[in-house]
């Protein structure tokens, strides 16, 4: 069973996309609803070619997708792909919690042994 390993490229792409403050802000904005390139670019003091490159990274990670009408490109989030990052973090948390539980059990056993002797 390799569900997490099998998703590795998608996880890489998702976390790479999320590793930049501009891209996270764009995702925050898109969480409120679809937006065009001009709407997305407006709050940033950045030249358009650089900004468009951030959009390209987000789209490559498939956290967002875009559609074109006339000269307008509109972006929206892909919720299923956001879940890729969420699932990875949840799996790590479960692993750590299981480990802590085992540690807790072990310490409890030690304690019982000590009080038993």
């Amino acid at each position: 069973m390799v569900p997490v390993m099998g998703h590795a490229p998608a996880v890489d792409a998702a976390f790479h996309a999320l590793s930049n403050p501009t891209r996270r802000k764009v995702l925050e904005r898109l969480s409120a609803g679809p937006a065009t390139v001009s709407e997305l670019a407006a709050p940033f003091d950045m030249q358009l070619p650089s900004f468009v490159q951030h959009l390209a990274v987000l789209e490559k990670s498939r956290l967002v997708r875009s559609t074109k009408r006339g000269r307008v490109r509109t972006y929206e989030v892909v919720p299923e792909r956001i879940a890729v990052a969420e699932d990875w973090l949840s799996a790590r948390r479960r692993a750590w919690e299981a480990r802590l539980d085992r540690f807790d059990d072990y310490v409890t056993q030690l304690k019982e042994k000590e009080s038993g002797s």
Binding site: A41, L48, P49, A56, E59, R71
Partner: protein
Amino acid sequence: MSTHVAFNPKLDFAIERFIDAPTRLVWEALTKPEHLKEWYMPRPWGRVARAELDLRPGGIISIDIAVGDGPESPNVGCVLEVVPMQRLVWTSMLFPGYRPAVFDDIPITAIMTMEPVGAGTRYVFTALHRDAADLETNKASGFYQGTEMAIDQFVAHVLALK
């Protein structure tokens, strides 16, 4: 066709170059898609993925550009005026066939003029904007800088055609 253009430095910008090449070559480099592809997009920024130009009023001007490995952005507008070896005017306010355009970028009307000066050519690119805010946005977004870079590439391309 006589044309009146009121250039307003508060709304518009013009970039002028002397090109040490015959006007015929300047016109060719400006209007043939295979040449447009070579110089239209600043090379450090990306590339032209596709270029199409129908040299008549109402004709298509379509230059898809791509930044890095990103998706291709359509740049499509309508040709307004064609005077071979003198003047080409197009606007992004309209789609081909004078269809009102769907856009969310800053629309411009672009005027390219050329005239022989000795054995060379004086070339002027003018971009008309709706208002001062549009001009400011186009300067901040890199459009102005990109146009200057493209014109320098254009001049180099024409000189290489000689």
